[in-house]
């Protein structure tokens, strides 16, 4: 299994859609074969269409607000000693998280395909909120599938979705979290694929959805590469790019431009959700060595039992609370290009407190997992090491959880 250079990772799959000939693919019911073929065809046309690219860049700049800033976390670095800690503040993007890139691109594709309805899944509520924003912006009718447990714990985002005119479809089946929301959304699409476009909220699902999402979030690293060159004149010798990984869309977007670099120069570190400290449940299929399985139309490392039933997961962060992970991260893991680890709920909360104490930054619980790793390794590293954390979401949505766990707003 080998990575190719100079080809975007999203395109390094075989004709059946597998990366490294075992991750990804399209395990879908027959009914979805045609709509997925159509979408695949449309996307391959659009991504080479100058007008479409112009449109994308226009909305990325004027609607999403690219580029998001790249800042040094001076106080945190000084406090910890060791490596310099920087942040790519993707949470500045319109709506407050990276999910807006994928949502905007899907809305544009939906328009280009002449469909009027768009549906999507959401866990933390950001994918749903952004899709509802994009739908409103482009005049599309929007339905968001969300687990009942998540509807309760991410209320601010639900309010936003409703304000944008989207319908939230509560999902009561299974564990009532993201995994069930994705299943229900796919079922809805099976029944309505003739009129409706589906947006998968991360780099998961059948092959084409991994590609579209990765293509969209890649904007993050395109910006970052320019910003690094501006700040340091050239790409520094020791960089560590740390990102949380649930489905893995922000991590792929954060890394895509840097995958061709040598790992001794730019290390890629993914941080999964380890769940509560004393719980056996987690959402960390990569770092806790889950077996390969098929979930939501793709083969990836999946938290599951011996029989192939998908395990319940547990994490304080709804956005990372997912038993599977992107096939492209499985590929990065097996080729050893990226390293994956996990942070527990408690680690993430501690990191959140430390970051907010020292910096004018309010990372949501998802990137707080990434900060936990940065805080852990920074003191052991030399001062010429540059740690960059993707602060990919804003903590406004976590208001209730933070109040409950930390007793503050």
């Amino acid at each position: 299994m080998k990575l190719k250079k100079k080809i975007p990772l999203i395109d390094q799959h075989d004709r059946y859609g597998f990366w490294g000939s075992k991750f990804g693919g399209s395990f879908i019911p027959e009914t979805l074969k045609k709509p997925i073929e159509d979408l695949t065809h449309e996307f391959s046309k659009l991504r080479n269409n100058k007008n479409f690219l112009k449109k994308r860049d226009f909305y990325f700049r004027n609607y999403i607000g690219s580029p998001t800033s790249f800042v040094k976390l001076e106080n945190l670095s000084n406090h910890l000693g060791g490596a310099q800690i920087w942040a790519k503040v993707v949470s500045e993007a319109n709506g407050g998280a990276h999910k807006i890139y994928n949502a905007t691109v899907h809305a544009l594709i939906c328009k280009a395909m002449g469909k009027k309805y768009i549906v999507g899944d959401t866990g933390a509520g950001y994918a749903g909120k952004m899709l509802s924003m994009a739908a409103k912006k482009f005049g599309l009718k929007c339905k968001i599938f969300m687990g009942v447990k998540d509807i309760k714990r991410q209320k601010p985002n639900c309010d936003a979705m409703r304000e944008n005119g989207a319908e939230i479809v509560p999902v009561y089946s299974g564990s009532q979290t993201l995994v069930d929301a994705v299943s229900e959304c796919m079922r809805y699409w099976v029944s309505n694929c003739d009129t409706t476009h589906m947006c998968v909220g991360s780099t998961v699902g059948p092959n084409i959805f991994v590609k579209i999402c990765g293509w969209s979030t890649a904007q993050i690293s395109r910006e970052l590469k320019i910003q690094i060159k501006q700040k340091f004149k050239k790409i520094p010798k020791k960089i560590k790019l740390i990102n949380c990984v649930g489905g893995g869309s922000s991590a792929y977007g954060f890394w895509s431009e840097f995958i061709d670099f040598n790992k001794s120069q730019i290390e890629l570190i993914g941080v999964e959700a380890g769940g509560p400290k004393r719980s056996k449940l987690h959402a960390a299929p990569l770092s806790r060595n889950a077996k390969i399985g098929i979930l939501h139309g793709a083969a990836s490392y999946v938290c599951q039992n011996n029989e192939g039933q998908i395990n319940d997961t547990e994490s304080i962060s709804a956005g990372l609370d997912y038993p599977g992970v992107s096939p492209i991260h499985c590929f990065l893991k097996d080729t050893k290009r990226a390293r994956y680890t996990y942070a527990t709920d408690e680690d993430a909360l501690k990191a959140y407190m430390m970051v907010t104490k020292f910096e004018k930054l309010n990372p949501s619980l998802e990137p707080s997992h990434a900060f936990a790793e940065a805080i852990k390794i920074a003191p052991k590293l030399s001062q010429d090491t540059i740690i960059i954390v993707n602060s990919c979401g804003d903590a406004k949505k976590d208001r209730d959880i933070l109040r409950e766990r930390l007793g503050k707003n």
């Binding site: 059946y16 693919g25 399209s26 395990f27 879908i28 019911p29 027959e30 009914t31 979805l32 074969k33 045609k34 709509p35 089946s173 299974g174 995994v179 069930d180 299943s183 796919m186 079922r187 099976v190 029944s191 309505n192 694929c193 003739d194 077996k291 390969i292 399985g293 098929i294 979930l295 939501h296 139309g297 999946v302 599951q304 011996n306 029989e307 192939g308 039933q309 998908i310």
Partner: protein, 266 residues
């Protein structure tokens, strides 16, 4: 030698009626009960589909999801599914049984081991919902070598070109999904339209038996009786759910449902 599935269809044909196929979930609501249900309904059903449950079924509607969750909650394991099939075949040697489910269960069990176990349990056919053509070619071939029917699915969205390829590579039986829906949806296309799509498939190869499924209930079954076979699943799973709720005997109630269905297409 002709397969048991083929023979069953030709018997139904000689009686001038479609074959009736039922779908129940193994272990719903217990291992013992689901075997009893299977034995009892097979007095009226021609072919029994037995679902091996999965907890993230992306193509099933509410009724079958409920049955699957119930079975898993009651501890059904894949080896139990095989033993239900085996015990069923001990008393109903001439009734074809088809296992149906999602690929991850097979993948975790190991494809070859799964097929071997099917053979040992006298399973006649397999339907894998999320392993479409052409990705399923290798697995289908393995099944064929062991004389197990791998049943290809066709939907209203299947293109003509694809249709030809699928039919060419199919075994004895083909499953036509009546409409864009998960299982158990309300029939949203006319039965006339369904039958005309069905005829298009038949025209391409008359030797294949084509069954229609999804959205078939006591209300709609009669108007589709020209087909080679008709599958009823959700309506049966719903009856199990209702019987449990009302604390009635699920075996008797479900058998009555199947008996009525059969009478409508005689």
């Amino acid at each position: 030698m002709s397969s048991l599935i083929n023979k069953t269809f030709s018997i139904a044909k000689s009686e001038n009626r479609p074959a009736l196929l039922t779908y129940t979930v193994a272990g719903d609501n217990t291992k013992k009960k689901s075997l009893e249900i299977l034995k009892s309904i097979s007095n009226y059903a021609d072919i029994c589909e037995l679902g091996f449950p999965h907890n993230t079924p992306i193509a099933d509607g509410g009724q079958i999801q409920t049955s699957a969750y119930r079975a898993i909650k009651n501890g059904i394991k894949i080896n139990d599914v095989f033993s239900i099939a085996k015990n069923f075949k001990k008393v109903k040697r001439n009734k074809p049984i088809i296992l149906m489910g999602y690929y991850n269960i097979i993948f975790q069990y190991n494809e070859d081991k799964f097929i071997k176990k099917c053979k040992k349990s006298k399973v006649d056919g397999l339907i894998v919902v999320d392993l479409p053509y052409p990705e399923n070619k290798a697995f289908a071939l393995k099944c064929k070598k062991k004389k197990i029917n791998f049943i290809q699915l066709i939907s209203p969205t299947t293109s003509r070109n694809r249709l030809k390829q699928i039919i060419r590579d199919s075994h004895d039986m083909i499953y036509y999904i009546s409409m864009l829906s998960t299982t158990g949806g309300k029939l949203k296309v006319s039965t006339k339209k369904i039958l005309s799509e069905y005829k298009k498939i038949k025209k391409l190869d008359k030797s294949k038996y084509v069954v229609i499924g999804f959205g078939i209930t006591g209300k709609t079954i009669k108007s589709l009786k020209k087909a080679d076979g008709l599958v009823v699943g959700s309506a049966i799973c719903k009856e199990i759910t209702n019987s449990i709720k009302k604390r009635q005997n699920a075996v008797i109630n479900v058998t009555n449902v199947v008996k009525k269905l059969k009478n409508k297409i005689k």
